[in-house]
């Protein structure tokens, strides 16, 4: 038959076929052995260690329930106490705040009434609490003394002051907020407002109001987003098979 009679055709076919097979096979090998991760300076790889012979113990799988406790080891928290009833709310804890305050206890400086302190510091040319600008509601509604005990003669300056003159620990400042923001407080206790510490599993420890809201300026920032919009897929890739990975810096970015 004709196959015995070798022709140039056969040689050409060989070549074309092999080129095609080679291209596809080469690409197959590459995609099969693909390195999924970009390695900067791939040549400086560590020596290959022997695979571990002993399987790692499947620890933690035995415990049936999940707990947030491991993630709360470094946190300080107290039970949430409702301001109106002075009863702890079951199963809810609030992260404490006092140890994070910079100038605490207040009584270190506030040994006299505020007016006396003010006169003394003005005479010496010192500024106290210069970084605090009160922008919370209206000045006619709310001033420093609405929330702060300032007279050591009549009250405990190391606590906060309720509208009725009671005192509240700095760790329970939420009781103060709850006086006006009753709805937000309710949602915060329930779980629709605020943030948790640790994990989703019990015990439930939540952040105090002031961890997100500066009590002196409770408004939120207007700021730039943390990421630029996604570009790929929006650009026209008709002409080039390879996407642009370098993106132009946009004006106005920080």
């Amino acid at each position: 038959m004709r196959w015995v009679n070798l022709r140039v055709r056969a040689a050409v076919l060989w070549l074309a076929g092999l080129v095609a097979v080679g291209l596809v096979a080469g690409a197959c090998v590459q995609s099969f052995g693909g390195v999924p991760v970009w390695v900067e300076g791939a040549e400086s790889r560590p020596a290959e260690p022997d695979p571990p012979v002993v399987a790692p113990p499947a620890d933690g799988q035995a415990s049936a329930s999940v707990s947030s406790l491991p993630y709360l080891a470094l946190e300080d928290y107290l039970p949430l106490v409702d301001g109106a009833t002075q009863e702890p709310v079951e199963g809810v804890f609030v992260r404490t705040r006092r140890e994070e305050l910079v100038s605490y206890p207040c009584s270190t400086c506030h040994t006299e009434p505020v007016d006396a302190l003010k006169q003394a510091s003005q005479a010496e040319g010192r500024l106290a609490h210069w970084d605090v600008a009160l922008d919370h509601a209206d000045q006619t509604v709310l001033t420093c003394t609405t929330c702060h005990n300032v007279d050591p003669n009549t009250s405990d300056v190391d606590t906060l002051r309720t509208l009725t003159g009671g005192s509240v620990s700095f760790d329970a400042s939420y009781q103060l907020c709850a006086q006006c923001h009753a709805d937000a407080y309710e949602e915060w206790v329930g779980g629709a407002h605020g943030k948790r510490v640790g994990g989703w599993a019990p015990p439930r420890v939540i952040q105090s109001c002031v961890e997100c809201h500066n009590p002196h300026q409770p408004q939120w920032d207007i700021r730039w987003p943390a990421m630029r919009p996604q570009q790929i897929g929006r650009e026209d890739r008709t002409m080039s098979p390879f996407p642009k990975t370098q993106r132009e810096a946009r004006p106005g970015s920080r």
Partner: protein, 407 residues
Amino acid sequence: MGRDKVYIQPLPEAWSEPGHPDRSAGPPRPSRGVREMVARLLAQHQVDDVDISRLPADGQSLEWSELKEIFNLSEEEQATAFEEDVAPAGAWTLAGLRERLNRPVSRRTAAKLMAMGLLTGVGFLQAGCTPQLPSALGGQAAQLRLQEYFKRNYRLMTEEEKRETIQRLEHLYELETGKRPQISSREAQPGVLYGYAFNISKCRGYLECVKACVLENNQDRSTDIRYIRIHEMPQGPFDMERATDDFYHQVPAAGHLYVGTQCFHCENPPCVDVCPVQATWKEPDGIVVVDYDWCIGCRYCQAACPYDGRRFNWRRPVVPVEEINLQQHYLGNRLRRQGVMEKCTFCIQRTREGRLPACVEACPTGARIFGNLLDPNSEIRWVLENKKVFRLKEDLGTEPKFWYFMD
């Protein structure tokens, strides 16, 4: 094409030799496999004027003219190979072409040309494979990859098989990146069903969640895979079609609200039903997961998802080595490969350990609520019982476990 360089390289012996040192470092080796084939072919047809030993060594290339010289092509043979035009005048007519094609050729010439074709073809083949050969197919990594290729669907694996594949993967990633991840296979806890709520009056479009998600889940940076999309919607009717997700200006913009979407982990997930190989499924704790090594990349699930919840690796994922999150889960954030589907897993590597998903932890405004739907004291349950909640496209009957609410 004949003038192109021809690469001649041996068939890689390294395939069968585990622990073979990096080939590029070793001395040049004679081309064994192909050479033998060529020698056999030439001997078969009594061609004796070709000195095969003159073929260059491993990894070297040669010009067409050199190849011609080695093969000792005579004038007549060259003509047959279209080297010169010896056909009658007006050669490029049909008749001329016919003459060309039907010109009788001696056995010897044909054998030579076939051998040259063989060499060129194999050269192309190997040139195609070479960039990956030394590292990808040499030594341990190749063996591990081969074993990985033949493993089973994760759900069918025995505990033993799971342990083995995780060991292999950890080792393989270490070989590739120099860092050894910890891949967990922790299973769903009884009495846990995850749910998620999103407060559209709290979200301010800061995209901190997106950033945390990308970092936590080792997402490809080159195609910018993002599980979360934040849609900026002008106030007015709540209609997702009025929203855009490509904003880049100071946020929140006046008169706009922000709606985040991601995989909703439906109770009736259409994506799971359509997968032809069951590479995606719903775990007992409600998380819809993908077995990345079982996925064949048909993207039927992407077409079936009404929520734009699935992302495909359209190219080889790129994750800077120093940014790799080493705390991984087999069904979660372990490194993916080209051509497979991935998606939000509620950060399975975190949530199975009791932690919050990265997006929830990162959100500065507390717009994201996550928890156990089966725990009556959980925040998510409080939201569902006390707030007015809604879900998107409820008419489709997919029962998403992702609710929206307002203050």
